[in-house]
């Protein structure tokens, strides 16, 4: 059941009645037990199809991801959303099975094949009991190699995407994210526009566009099967040869990322939502690409700034001021430079104060080195939590897919913890100075202009513009 409220929290010290019971001293940790990220093997079929297999036999379950060089960055100009629509249409029928029958076959095997495209790849994924892997694998094969891409389902999925976009107009969190991208990147940048496409670009897509995109980009040499779970590399290779051995076609070129930043200085963008109960706030700018050499210092710096519960921004906005239920910062890592953004939702009457405190924390990260004590909070967290991140076959497969998508070194997971521990306070300040850029920050608020506009003007952060929910300037 969903529907639980999560919390966390902290303040000063005080007194009150207590229960008599004995004090026990704070325990210190025992010796850590060794951990290795699951071993994996890479293989390649003669047609170029890549395999990455990690045998994990804890429970009788297997996750399979098909990672295809067909992400949203490869969308043709004016047809943004084509990669997403193509991925979703794949599972709507094959040469042998009509869509409903295909769904039924997979689900009676206890699995569902979900396909979608993010910026850097299209991914079809399923988790299945190992006893049913072979059958499910064959169905996944026909989805990738001979999808029927029916006209009717293309039109339906387009209509569902348009309905989702309509819903977004009244959904402050999603709207704030979308508007932030629009204002942080140059209007011509692909990253300025939604991964799944906009109203106009989705309307323009035809079934022929989908078929052409599929034919151009779904090729064995641009595809890697990532498998984690209760299965051996040899068994996976046999399955893959049986299923995909005859698949042919040369590799499609990856598209260069389109990540040009907005060519302006600091601006405040108020997206109006009358009578909003809260302000959704986004503060940030274009960040760094995944392959950037400062990746590890940036991860550690971000953990301290706003990545952890005990980070500066969350402790300030939530625990010291009670402005919000939570505040966080993140780098969205992509092949191109994804956004760096601070996200929070605050009481409307403290929108300016929350922005001011956030800016203060960004400046402080640049101006002063972090103490050794504070640094170790992030490094020991990232080091210690590493094994906890990879408990499930789905998590392991997703991690290995990133290895493929971002071309990370083979020892990436084995050296991760040492690289985190090696980050110094000087590294953190250096990465903050170079890559947190107060002059380039964009401040986006989805909220009630009647309440937030004047205080935001008074903040003197930058020129203030008010927009409607479609992003059209209204004042």
């Amino acid at each position: 059941m969903s529907g639980e409220r999560s919390s966390p929290a902290a303040g000063a010290a005080g007194t009150s009645a207590t229960r008599p019971s004995s004090l026990s001293p704070r325990p210190s940790p025992g010796a850590p037990r060794p951990y290795q990220f699951p071993r994996f093997e890479r293989r390649r079929l003669p047609n170029g199809l890549g395999l990455v297999v990690a045998s994990v036999s804890k429970l009788p379950v297997v996750t399979v991801l098909a990672v295809v060089e067909a992400g949203a960055s490869t969308d043709p100009e004016g047809h943004e959303g084509l990669a997403q629509l193509t991925a979703r249409t794949l599972v709507e029928g094959t040469a042998e099975l009509e869509g409903a029958a295909l769904t039924d076959r997979l689900e009676r095997l206890g699995t569902a094949l979900d396909a979608s495209a993010d910026w850097d790849a299209a991914v079809a994924r399923m988790t299945v009991l190992s006893s049913r892997l072979a059958e499910a694998f064959a169905l996944m094969g026909s989805v990738l190699m001979s999808p029927s891409l029916p006209e009717r389902e293309v039109q339906r999925l387009k209509a569902e995407r348009l309905a989702d976009l309509l819903q977004l107009r009244a959904e402050p969190r999603g709207l704030a994210d979308e508007m932030f991208d629009r204002f942080a990147y140059a209007p011509t940048a692909r990253y300025a526009r939604p991964e799944g496409g906009s109203d106009r670009s989705v309307q323009a897509i035809t079934r022929d566009d989908v078929a052409r995109f599929y034919a151009a980009r779904y090729r064995p040499a641009g595809t890697t099967l990532v498998v984690a779970g209760d299965v051996t590399p040899d068994a996976v290779e046999r399955l893959a040869l049986d299923t995909f051995g005859q698949w042919a076609g040369a590799q499609a070129e990856p598209a260069p990322p389109s990540d040009a930043p907005a060519p302006v200085g600091r601006r405040v963008h108020v997206v109006g939502k009358e009578d909003a109960a809260q302000s959704e706030l986004r503060i940030g700018h274009v960040g760094l690409p995944r392959a950037h050499p400062a990746f590890f210092p940036a991860v550690v710096m971000n953990a301290l700034l706003g990545g952890l519960f005990s980070s500066r921004i969350n402790l300030n906005l939530r625990e010291a001021h009670g402005y919000t239920y939570g505040a966080r910062s993140e780098f969205d890592w992509r092949r191109g430079a994804g956004p760096f953004v601070v996200s929070t939702a605050v009481q409307s009457d403290v929108t300016d104060a929350a922005a001011r405190e956030t800016l203060k924390e960004i400046d402080r990260m640049r101006d002063e080195p972090v103490s050794a004590e504070e640094l170790s909070l992030a490094t020991s967290y990232l080091d210690g939590v590493f094994p906890i991140r990879y408990e499930t076959t789905a998590a392991i497969a997703t991690a290995l897919a990133n290895l493929v998508i971002y071309g990370l070194p083979e020892d990436y997971f084995d050296s991760y913890r040492a690289k985190v521990r090696a980050v110094t306070a000087a590294d953190v300040q250096d990465v903050a100075r170079r890559h947190l850029r107060p002059d380039a920050l964009q401040l986006v608020v989805v909220g009630d202009p009647a309440v937030v506009r004047d205080p935001l003007e008074a903040l003197a952060f930058g020129p203030v513009t008010v927009y409607d929910a479609e992003g059209r300037p209204v004042g």
Binding site: S2, R5, G14, S21, E391
Partner: protein
């Protein structure tokens, strides 16, 4: 798939469950307190959840911001959550940090009050009010969380009122309330502690005894008013809400058998036949074939007292009115009520449920939470190992019998969201027009 289950009960009543798994050097610690929003007194809606926030504010030996910091510094993850009938607290840590996790839980179970201050309460009150704004007031359809239980349970029923709480009641909460709630409900005999993952059983038992053993037993908790309700609503119920949304959405609830009962599993499978994944009836007919819905699903609340609720949740396509959506959903419910389900549909549902269950049990945190759940509700954590069999025992006949018994017109409560300005019926002061007993649909 079976997971090992061992148990232990301390002299103060704390029930402990242990499940070893040495595949990775991590361990999950999970505490369920058998108290939720149902236990709140009149005028204090939202208090169980506000209190949950206070448990992260330190205790006698733990400073204000330390609870989170100590666990994160140890390389652990943590959180808590509040539900109608229970509150849980959990952390997953590297296995060499088990003692720290247990010590933190013991310090706040035994010695919370010395750390409580008015300032902390005031801050967390603001945080929770902002949580309410974020998840309910400023979120399209967000009020369904409180409107649906209010519609489905009578006014004096413990499940009727809001879990997140009203702004007025949150404002009224005092430090005295904190002390009373703590003394009444946060006692070892009202809790289950579960440990799952990489630990040495003798060592874990020793640590639990040492850290929790001296915390005194509680003095018992006040009995809840009767939770019993009839198995049917006794007629259609309907509420229409005009909200700041773009598309109509219907939540259709049925009173259904209590979590853990034999009939629960038939109800759960019926829910999966209706709304689990793309091959389900509602998705197949309303989203794919007739294209009147943009999304369709179904779920249960999993309540163990009074009545459970099975809920169908369907969002319309832009050109489809709320009335048309209700008619379309009613047609599918009527069909299942009248004609039942097929063997193939049941087979599909059980296969999906089983895979999800096995995949979830890979995680130590999930294991510990399930152990606490079955121990809290039924005193028997090993029930976790019977879940797959109980689902497999469900036949099409039983699901059909459930549909005949519970999906009829006398057992439907409809919560209908419509875009502002599209409201049928009158609009009064607020945004809500409640029209009960009008006939759900058809």
């Amino acid at each position: 798939m079976r997971i090992p289950v061992d148990t232990l009960r301390l002299a103060n009543g704390l029930f402990v469950t242990l499940s070893e798994d040495h595949t990775a050097p991590i361990v999950a610690v999970n505490l369920w307190y058998h108290v939720g929003s149902a236990n709140e007194r009149a005028g204090r809606t939202g208090f169980a959840h506000l209190f949950e926030h206070m448990l992260f504010q330190g205790s006698e030996n733990v400073g204000s911001n330390e609870h989170f910091e100590l666990v994160q510094r140890a390389g652990g993850t943590l959180n808590g959550s509040t539900w109608l009938d229970r509150t849980n607290y959990f952390e997953t840590v590297p296995s060499n940090q088990l003692a720290l996790a247990l010590w933190l839980e013991a310090d706040r179970m035994g010695r919370l009050l010395p750390a409580m201050t008015q300032q902390k309460l005031d801050t967390q009150r603001d945080v929770v009010k902002n949580e309410r704004r974020w998840s309910v007031d400023n979120q399209p359809y967000g009020s369904w969380w409180e409107r649906l239980p209010a519609l489905a349970f009578p006014e004096d029923h413990p499940f009727h009122h809001s879990l997140i709480g009203s702004m007025e009641d949150l404002s009224a909460a005092s430090l005295d309330d904190v002390a009373t709630f703590f003394a009444t409900y946060y006692t070892p005999d009202n809790a289950v502690l579960s440990i799952a993952g990489d630990f040495d059983p003798a060592e874990a038992r020793r640590l639990v005894e040492q850290m929790f053993g001296s915390i005194p037993r509680g003095r018992g908790k006040p009995p809840l008013p009767s939770m019993d309700v009839p198995p049917h609503f006794g007629g259609p119920k309907r509420e229409v809400v005009e909200d700041d949304v773009m598309l109509p959405r219907l939540f259709l609830a049925f009173r259904s058998p209590l979590f853990g009962s034999d009939d629960y599993y038939a109800a759960s499978v019926a829910g999966a036949v209706l709304g689990m994944r793309k091959g389900s009836r509602l998705h197949r007919t309303l989203v794919r074939d007739r294209q009147v819905a943009n999304d369709a699903g179904a779920f249960t609340f999993d309540l163990t007292k009074g009545s459970d609720l099975l809920v169908v949740d369907v969002t319309a396509r832009p050109e489809v009115s709320a009335e048309a959506l209700e008619r379309e959903v009613a047609r599918e419910i009527d069909r299942m009520h009248r004609d039942g389900v097929t063997d193939e549909e049941v087979e599909r549902a059980i296969a999906l449920i089983e895979t999800d269950f096995v995949a979830a049990m890979q995680s130590a945190s999930e294991r510990a939470d399930q152990l606490s759940r079955f121990a809290t509700y039924f005193g028997d954590p090993s029930l976790v190992n019977e879940q797959a069999d109980r689902y497999r025992a469900v036949t099409a006949e039983r699901v059909t019998a459930f549909a005949r018994e519970r999906l009829g017109p006398d057992n439907r409560a409809s919560l209908v969201y419509v875009p502002k300005g599209d409201g049928r019926g009158e609009r009064d002061e607020g945004r809500v027009t409640a029209v009960q007993g009008m006939g759900a649909a058809s």
